[in-house]
Symmetry: C2
Subunit: 293 residues, 2 copies
């Protein structure tokens, strides 16, 4: 490789929307990739991706594309990943590293193990934390990952080289790289993302199904607005995330229910001291976090 | 009263901060009051209120001030109201109407009944929905109530005249007036305000007390930010609100826990259909509410 050749040769992206498309654009912006080949569910999406410069060309058949690829990013909804893993497995070249952009990791790793078998060392799971409300190739932005977090969740089978390869690619996209075991990843995101969505949906649903729901919504104000903003999130997507991370989410939900039980007891016993203590610890932690973030 | 005389003569305000001070300034701005007399916990606060033009003068002794007053607004923390009600009761004139600015109503009404006895018809409870983060006379603004909601919670003993008197005063402040029974008021605000605060505090506390709390906060993002904004609220204030509205809040908390139990079961049973249904109903209600508010 000459001093001026891009760091990566061919990069293949399954899913050319917000996550995969922005990855492609960021590597192009960094001058770090020779060619980006895109796969997608419809020819129209791939044409749009090509017209927008997100991909250089649309892939037709994985048979001819995977072997020479340096990186294959699977950036589709998690539910489609098992089939894609199975399709590409026969064609992995010796230097091809596969990664993904899924927001849950235990289920993706299980699907990857099932599909890749002995080649599992070539799969380095990752989760770029850059959700946005839009989707499709037009939502892709070269700077989406600038200053954003990407959590790489290495497998014991991954070589240092394979791991560095994927971390390097995300660094070139401008992201800050973190490492967690897949189980720790799923526990953390169950607690700070999936559970809050479930709790917010639950509150709004509990009110919405009442006969006198209008009465309640009439007097809902700014605190309600903040608390329930995430209850406007996409139901199918959050159904899938909850089911994909079911074990960790059940654990976090049970921890939270125990916390609520304790607060209920304090309230029933008129224990203002305990209420103030819990509220005070929470406020301090929230303010400290907000100051850092 | 001549055509140009103010609609109200003397208005007495206990608590010259955000709620009481803004009420005074709004009535002055509307040219609707002859004189505002303020009572407060410290002479310094009252001096500041007078210098800022929030009150015309500081009251020294309720003995000489209450009998001639058209309106007495008690805009202190709810915990101080029983004592204030008891102090002013002996001096109520035949045309004096007392009202309050407390965010819970059942407890305030009970305290008022205990203090006012046969004169309870002269107490018209109300809740101006205009919380803000600042307090003290400097936080008072003449336009605080413009377009805001004020919930009046009439008692069976109130005459139409007494009720109209208080509604008219809040209308002159620019507020939109709603009427609810005190019990309905407390149930509604338990559901849309007090419970969300409790739930948000509970989530942050549940994470903050973990040994590896930093790990969780590191990956908390925008959804967490929205959901937990109200967990930065003032612990003593929310302790008092929760205790003051304990019965209604326990009811709403139990309804919510039943909702969570149902979602837990759906999750444990892999019932994606039910999860999506609940999330979908919530999303629709949240979006419809946000469109109206």
């Amino acid at each position: 490789m000459s001093a001026h050749a891009p760091e990566f040769g061919k990069v293949v992206v399954f899913g050319t929307g917000l996550i995969g498309g922005s990855f492609a654009l960021a590597l192009k912006e960094a001058g770090a990739v020779e060619e980006v080949v895109g796969f997608g569910r419809t020819p129209a999406t791939l044409r749009a991706a090509q017209q927008l410069g997100v991909i250089d060309r649309a892939g037709i058949n994985p048979t001819h594309e995977i072997e020479e690829a340096d990186i294959v990013l699977v950036a589709t909804p998690v539910a489609q990943m098992p089939e894609i893993f199975a399709r590409i497995e026969p064609y992995l070249g010796p230097n091809t590293i596969v990664t993904d952009g899924g927001s849950t990791k235990g289920d993706v790793v299980a699907a990857a193990r099932a599909a890749f078998g002995d080649k599992i060392s070539q799969f380095v799971p990752a989760h770029p934390i850059a959700g946005a409300e839009n989707s499709g190739p037009a939502a892709a932005r070269w700077d989406l990952y600038q200053g954003k977090k990407v959590v790489v969740t290495p497998l014991p089978e991954n070589s240092d080289d394979a791991l560095d390869h994927i971390k390097r690619a995300w660094s070139l996209c401008g992201a800050d790289i973190y490492e967690l075991a897949p189980e720790a990843h799923d526990r953390v995101f169950a607690a700070v993302s999936h559970l809050p969505h479930l709790l917010s949906y639950a509150l709004v649903h509990d009110l919405a199904v009442r006969e006198d729901a209008d009465l309640f919504f009439t007097f809902a104000a700014s605190g309600f607005r903040d608390f329930t903003r995430i209850a406007a999130s996409h139901p199918e997507m959050w159904r899938d995330i909850c089911l994909a991370n079911r074990a960790a989410l059940l654990g976090e939900l049970d921890s939270y229910r125990a916390q609520l039980d304790e607060l209920r007891l304090a309230l029933a016993q008129n224990d203002g001291e305990r209420l103030e203590e819990v509220f005070g610890i929470a406020r301090q932690a929230r303010r400290s976090w907000a100051g850092d973030n």
